[in-house]
């Protein structure tokens, strides 16, 4: 992270559902190759911010630039081209219910590459091994546990080795062992492939192991109340509620 290239730039974003303002005037840069964690209390608009950052929801004002292209004003074709380089794990996993796990993961692969069938199968197998779901190729999403769905969704997000990866609560509902393995996986992907990763999470373990930088949203101000290195925010943030967020569980974790 010597030179800070900005890959995503959020400028004065205002997000509303109906009349209700969820995010008020958010500006945020995501730099190439970093792991950025977005955190904040439940319902403060983290998933909403994520949806705006990938163009799934249109802001009521403000812009989002990915690689310098304004995705709030561009046409669907351009947006799709940009999205090809982006992998997203949704909070609810969002696996297609009528397809098996393998078909779900193969979906983006067959769409964008002309791989022969057996290499697609091979790739799917590799991706599933990455998230420790080997052997579940032919299960339907409804036959998986919540944590397994999360991992299958992660495998699908990773399918095309995206340049930017968005993860909405990747470790929620997973046991501590698998959680830390996922954390490890996230760091590996970040280091080996240079993937820029944006994570939404409450998991302090994840935050302290993987985050280069955190951004904290607040429900009351509807904006960013803290930004920077997680450890220094924990110890030195002027805002007591920010320190409290980090310390409540942090006390239990590192003595």
């Amino acid at each position: 992270m010597a030179i800070k290239d900005t890959v995503i730039q959020v400028k004065n974003l205002i997000a509303k559902y109906g009349d209700e303002v969820i995010l008020n005037n958010i500006s945020l840069d995501v730099y190439a190759g970093e792991v950025l964690v977005i955190l904040g209390g439940s319902g403060c608009g983290k998933s909403t911010l994520l949806k705006h950052m990938v163009g799934l929801a249109a802001p009521s004002s403000g812009n989002v630039f990915i690689d310098g292209i304004d995705i709030t004003g561009c046409d669907t074709k351009t947006l799709h081209n940009i999205l090809k380089g982006i992998g997203i794990l949704f909070q609810s996993s969002a696996l297609i219910g009528s397809m098996t796990v393998a078909e779900n993961i193969a979906l983006p692969i067959t769409e964008y590459s002309l791989m022969p069938k057996y290499s697609v199968d091979m790739l799917v197998h590799l991706k599933l091994r990455l998230v420790e779901l080997e052997g579940f190729e032919n299960y339907l999403p409804s036959e998986l546990s919540g944590g397994m769905k999360k991992r299958a969704g992660l495998a699908r997000a990773l399918a095309l080795n995206p340049k930017i990866l968005f993860l909405d609560e990747p470790t929620a509902g997973l046991d501590p062992v698998i959680s830390s393995e996922i954390d490890e996986l996230i760091m590996q992907i970040n280091r080996r492939l240079g993937t820029t990763i944006v994570i939404v999470t409450h998991d302090l373990d994840t935050i302290f192991t993987v985050a280069n930088r955190v951004v904290m949203l607040d429900k009351n101000t509807k904006g960013i109340i803290a930004e920077g290195d997680p450890k220094s925010i924990r110890d030195h943030s002027p805002n007591p509620s920010v320190r409290q967020f980090f310390k409540r569980n942090a006390k239990l974790m590192d003595p």
């Binding site: 949806k51 982006i86 997203i88 949704f90 609810s92 696996l95 297609i96 219910g97 983006p108 769409e111």
Partner: protein, 381 residues
């Protein structure tokens, strides 16, 4: 003027020494089991008293939780309503402890929620208009998106999801054959029976065959089939797509670079357009068979005369007319089913509403277009 001891209950008694000044002595447990009953008994009793001040004595209470707290709050409210003063004897601070546990205070009733917004008539009217306008916008843009996707499929046939289309044809078409056949057979039976009652008087038995054939092929066959398909498949389309919508699956498809219309709507619309005319054909055949049964067994017609009369009245125009209508109906049903699915917002009940609305709008559109066809035909001829 009143007896000092007014009431004896399991959990409280009310006593008063001076006129207008009363004390409620609570004892035992004020918890989830007892509180509701106490409220029901005590509040009317208090309301019936003429009092100036009331003291709640909690010193003999062995246990109190937040249900008991609600009891005290209700009591205080009742006293306030009578403009009397309320006091508490609580030397062990039992109520206080519960209050601090719930982070609430005595005067604010616990959990004072943000009231649901309610607006005046004008604002609600305006909102409805805006909502309808945006619904209309979605409707038009969905038509555009469907047309565009069909154009895309036409240019790049490889982008059609053939497997899905075939599966959908099976679900919409093949699986509907038994019910369509049964309904049509019975309908043919009923029509011929009813008409025979009249036509028999003129000895015009043979014309029962014409009546059944014309009525079914040009009107009832397409309509009955379309209604059955709207109920079976239109609702299914809306529910499937609606469920995908609320569980973010459609977002996921979009992000992976798929056009949700091309991915979900086109296979369904295409499948319907292919199978609904075929179903209509089945419907016609079975209805004529139903008529035949009545003709042969009740009206003493021969099979061959019934069939030849049927063939004689059925012109090619009549058959093509019925088939083209059924194609239009298929487009309407599947289009509105998919549209309702994509419009779904919210939770499980929204999916239910989408399915209902798909059937209702589907049937409405069928009847609307059918009457338009009927009017058009009468001018054209």
């Amino acid at each position: 003027m009143k007896k000092p001891e007014l009431n004896r209950s399991e959990f409280y008694n009310i006593s008063g020494n001076e006129p207008g000044v009363f004390t409620v002595h609570f004892h035992g447990k004020l918890d989830v089991r007892s509180s509701a009953g106490i409220i029901k008994e005590l509040i009317p009793e208090i309301n019936a008293l003429s009092l100036t001040s009331l003291t709640a004595d909690l010193d003999d209470v062995s246990y109190i939780d937040d249900f008991g707290l609600i009891l005290l709050i209700e009591l205080k409210k009742a006293i306030k309503n009578k403009n009397s003063s309320f006091g508490m004897t609580d030397t062990r601070n039992m109520a206080e402890n519960i209050l601090s546990l719930n982070e609430s205070d005595f005067d604010r009733s616990p959990g004072s929620a943000k009231p649901k917004k309610s607006y005046g008539v004008v604002i609600r009217f305006g909102e409805t208009v805006i909502k309808s306008a945006s619904n209309f916008k979605i409707l038009v843009s969905f038509i555009g998106s469907v047309l565009f996707s069909f154009y895309h499929v036409f240019r790049h046939p490889g982008s059609l999801r053939v497997d899905d289309t075939i599966l959908c044809m099976e679900k919409t078409g093949v699986n509907a054959v038994p019910i369509v056949a049964l309904i049509s057979f019975l309908l043919g039976l009923v029509i011929s029976f009813m008409s025979s009652l009249q036509l028999q008087q003129f000895g015009a038995n043979l014309y029962v065959a014409s009546l059944v054939a014309i009525a079914m092929v040009s009107e009832l066959g397409p309509i009955m089939t379309a209604i059955v398909v709207a109920g079976r498949s239109g609702s299914a389309f809306a529910a499937e797509i609606g469920t995908m919508k609320i569980s973010e699956e459609i977002d996921a498809l979009f992000v992976m670079g798929f056009d949700p219309t091309l991915f979900l709507a086109i296979p369904r619309i295409l499948a319907s357009v292919i199978v609904v005319p075929l179903l209509t054909l089945f419907s016609n055949i079975f209805a004529i068979a139903g008529g035949l049964v009545v003709g042969v067994f009740i009206l003493d017609l021969t099979i061959s005369s019934y069939i030849s009369q049927t063939i004689k009245v059925l012109t090619l125009f009549e058959v093509v007319w019925g088939m083209s209508k059924s194609i239009i109906f298929a487009i309407l049903i599947s289009w509105v089913g998919c549209l309702r699915g994509f419009q779904t917002r919210g939770g499980a009940d929204a999916v239910g509403n989408a399915a209902t609305s798909a059937v209702v709008s589907g049937i409405f559109l069928i009847i609307l277009f059918d009457s338009m066809f009927a009017v058009g035909r009468s001018y054209w001829r």
